[in-house]
Symmetry: C2
Subunit: 141 residues, 2 copies
């Protein structure tokens, strides 16, 4: 019950580029992730997706998530060994995990910070991606 025309087009193009088909389930899962700016687990995405598509299966949610991640439309985010979370924010950014509430926050990174991160790699290390996560508590105020 969502997915803007822009996102629909993004999805279809990405799928076509990968030689994959556009399906109701893929739209639904992508829509669920895009419609809320948070970091849900597969289970949470399954629950939200079922609300307007009661027949979708958990296996399909996992399949769609893998597809979306592989197409670069969604980011997979892991904290320690907890269940994976999925992030709609494609900008290069970090995550803050609050150990009190379990909430996850996006943290923007300055160009300078990203540059500095790259600079740490010695000769011979070809970085393709990095993951930066902060753990701590948030002052609720």
């Amino acid at each position: 019950m969502n997915l803007s025309p822009e996102h629909k087009a993004l999805l279809d193009n990405a799928l076509i580029d990968s030689g994959l088909r556009s399906t109701r389930q893929r739209e639904q899962v992508y829509g669920v992730i895009m419609s809320k700016q948070d970091h849900p687990t597969a289970d949470e995405i399954y629950a939200r997706a079922k609300a307007s598509m009661p027949t979708i299966s958990l296996a399909t949610v996992y399949n769609c998530l893998e597809t979306l991640v592989d197409c670069g439309l969604v980011r997979q985010v892991n904290f320690d060994r907890e269940p994976s979370r999925y992030c709609p924010n494609l900008k290069e950014h970090a995550h803050f995990y609050c150990k009190e509430t379990g909430e996850v926050f996006d943290i923007d990174l300055s160009g300078q910070a990203i540059h500095e991160l790259r600079r740490q790699l010695p000769e011979g290390f070809e970085m393709e991606s990095f993951e930066l996560s902060y753990h701590g508590k948030t002052h609720s105020n």
Copy 2:
């Protein structure tokens, strides 16, 4: 079959400080981790430990690892959802994961880089730790 007197003292003090007992198995697991500068999984640590202590169990390895991590003597390192790895390097550092070989490398971080990382956090986020991991390939030469 290892563990320098310095490490033995470190271990005993840390255990005492936590109200825990010094045992052969804890020494063995700590010795295994300290005796090689790499990032073994629990299974690998189990295999190495068994070489000189054939009766040690995998459950005990897991128990010892948790104890050592909680005492701050060893770092637990995770890449995506792969089995946890354990790191003897207590300095604040990052990890480079080579997607070709699966090897893990320690990456030193400059004070400037660490400062820059801290600087990214907005008001209200109290960082207790951070994890930075790079993914890519290494030029073998």
